[in-house]
């Protein structure tokens, strides 16, 4: 009995093959095997979950329904136009803001009045989520919104906004990842002796963004604000207000991580691609610094 479990299984398989390949017996063996499969399945517990009584254990980012982050929407209508089913309804009106200097032309902006999705038409393709340039649409894991009336399946802004509560926050950046655009942008203005004029910073993030695209999606509200300020119409005091740098966590405004040559070489020697090697090297550098600080 020196055989291991694997060896025994292999031997059994071999025997099974031998029996199954015999002409008359093989067919009978196949029939019997089928019966044993159904019987064994019956004796095992069923995999069904009793849905209304037991809530399903769904992944965090289940694509249940599409939620709207209202304040990010700029009424660009891209979602509505890309929707294959034309199930998104958007209404807006133009608001004229008072001019900044007396006698100048009033500033205009689009105000969202209605945003509704008809889920009786929606086919959950997610193109609207993909196409939204300002991260106003999200996949929400909420899925219990069935009704007994087709007309009530058109959900308005307030409901869509409520579903936003189910959307998990974006995953944290890994150690050594490059900062998101907003943060690196702030770093530029933060380092300056005086608070730089918003107009000046408006060009800086653009440069950073092209030079180093962020690894993960940046926080949506900041992104919206950044886009606002990047538009030619921006650069006013209002834009500057929304862009006021938030309170920074401690240790966040230190010098950016550098590449730890030792770790980099080790990673390259392991055959890792350059990008990964650089990330690992930065991580190693940060860990070393932490060690030194504590």
């Amino acid at each position: 009995m020196a055989m291991t479990k694997e060896q025994r299984a292999a031997k059994l398989r071999e025997l099974e093959q031998k029996i199954a390949s015999k002409k008359g017996i093989g067919a009978l063996y196949g029939l019997a095997k089928g019966m044993s499969v159904t019987m064994r399945t019956m004796l095992k517990p069923a995999i069904t979950t009793q849905y209304p009584h037991v809530k399903p254990d769904l992944p965090e980012r289940t694509r249940g329904v599409i939620a709207l982050k209202e304040e990010n929407c700029t009424v660009c209508m891209l979602c509505s136009r890309e929707c294959p089913d034309w199930c998104i309804y958007i209404d807006s009106h133009k608001d004229v803001m008072p001019p900044k200097t007396p006698g100048a032309r009033g500033r205009t902006r689009n105000v969202l009045d209605r945003f509704a999705i008809d889920y009786a038409l929606c086919m959950y393709c997610g193109i609207c989520v993909d196409v939204c340039p300002f991260d106003a649409l999200f996949w929400s894991p909420h899925f219990e919104y069935s009704t007994d009336d087709l007309s009530t399946l058109t959900h308005e802004m307030d409901t869509l906004a409520k579903w936003m509560d189910y959307v998990p926050p974006p995953p944290a950046l890994e150690d050594g990842a490059e900062d998101p655009v907003e943060v690196s942008k702030e770093a530029v203005s933060y380092g300056a002796p005086a608070v730089a004029a918003p107009v000046a910073t408006a060009t800086a993030p653009a440069a950073t963004a092209t030079a180093a695209p962020p690894r993960t999606e940046p926080a949506p509200s900041q992104e919206g604000a950044a886009a606002d300020s990047a538009t030619p119409a921006g650069g006013t005091t209002e834009a500057a207000e929304t862009q006021a740098p938030p309170a920074r966590e401690e240790g966040h405004d230190e010098e950016p991580p550098q590449i730890d040559q030792e770790a980099y070489d080790a990673a390259i020697a392991q055959g890792k691609p350059d990008r990964e090697a650089r990330a690992l090297a930065k991580r190693a550098w940060i860990l070393k610094r932490r060690k030194a600080q504590s």
Partner: protein, 341 residues
């Protein structure tokens, strides 16, 4: 005294027996239907009905019955109206008659039953030609099937009915041949007599080939998977039942499950020792019979869950080229053994 007087009245005894048979005929298929719902579900790693009646969906079949009664009874315009409406009854009556002769227990030692009430015992009627009666009457169902298929004025129905008739002709032979070998060995055609003859040993041991043939042929007679070509839902919708709705469709379904119970019961009486038990013989005979019928019916469900449907020509080939010759050889051997020993 009153008791004695009651049982000396042939009509009273007859009515009581009929009532008992009728109740069994109505409840056994429901129980089997429920077992099929659940068994089939668990064999596919599902749960089956869980809601009706609160506890594991025990009332599902009752709810289905209520639903069938409520539904509109539709007769197609082109249908032959009278024949169409009559067909389900022609299918279900022979099936219910089979229950009349199934013996569930041995004959009583002393019997005071008046003549013409079928004697004393757990059966409705004890015919001297019981097995002959069963095989003859169960074959009538196919006429109802043909009526349904023809009267529906639907090509799928017609194909299904013709397939059913062809299947019945092909499989009635092995069924009868296998059963006649048993009758030969027992030396009687009476089902009670055949049950008695298995006191020493069950007939499944000497007649193992016959038993396998009988079970396969029964499955085919009942058009149960893997021999469900007459109703093959992926090919011809639902065969002869395609146009039926409501309670008439319900009757077809009831006859299918009643058929499983009745043919399982016949197989139990012919091969599995009827009411004779083993290991724990003090358990009363009727419970043994019921347990064996349940086990055999479960086998029918188990086979349905396991095997895919055969092709129509494979089905015919199997009956004519394999089952009938083997059944004939089985009869021959039984004859030789009967004469020699």
């Amino acid at each position: 005294m009153i008791f004695y007087h009651f049982f000396s009245n042939p009509w009273a005894v007859f009515a009581l027996k009929l009532a008992a048979v009728f109740i069994f005929f109505l409840t056994a298929p429901l129980v089997l239907g429920y077992v099929e719902h659940k068994g089939l579900a668990h064999m596919q790693s599902r749960l089956g009905p869980m809601e009706a009646g609160r506890f594991h969906g025990w009332a599902q079949l009752i709810a289905d019955g209520v639903k069938f009664i409520q539904k509109e009874d539709i007769v197609p315009d082109a249908a032959d109206r009278r024949i169409f409406m009559l067909a389900p009854m022609i299918v279900i009556i022979p099936v219910s008659l089979v229950f009349l002769v199934i013996p569930f227990g041995p004959a009583a030692v002393s019997c005071h039953a008046p003549a013409g009430t079928g004697g004393c015992g757990f059966w409705g009627e004890n015919f001297d030609v019981g097995i002959f009666f069963v095989l003859a009457i169960s074959a009538i169902s196919v006429i109802g099937m043909l009526m349904a298929g023809w009267a529906s004025a639907n090509k799928f129905s017609l194909i299904g009915a013709i397939r059913g008739a062809a299947q019945l002709i092909a499989y009635e032979l092995p069924l009868v041949l296998a059963a006649s070998a048993v009758a030969m060995q027992a030396g009687t055609l009476s089902l009670v007599g055949i049950g008695d003859a298995q006191k020493a040993y069950w007939f499944v041991f000497p007649q193992i080939a016959g038993f396998i043939i009988f079970v396969i042929a029964s499955l085919a007679e009942l058009s149960r998977p893997p021999f469900d070509m007459p109703i093959a839902d992926s090919e011809i919708i639902f065969g002869h039942m395609t146009e039926y709705t409501g309670i008439r469709f319900g009757l077809f379904l009831l006859s299918e499950y009643a058929g499983i119970v009745s043919l399982s019961a016949i197989a139990v009486v012919l091969y599995l020792g009827a009411w004779h038990g083993f290991i724990v013989p003090w358990i009363p005979g009727p419970i043994w019979t019921l347990a064996k019928i349940g086990a055999l019916s479960f086998l029918v469900i188990w086979l349905r869950a396991t095997y895919p449907r055969l092709r129509e020509d494979q089905l015919q080939k199997m009956a004519w080229k394999y089952l009938i010759p083997i059944a004939l050889v089985n009869i021959l051997l039984t004859m030789i053994f009967k004469v020699v020993f």
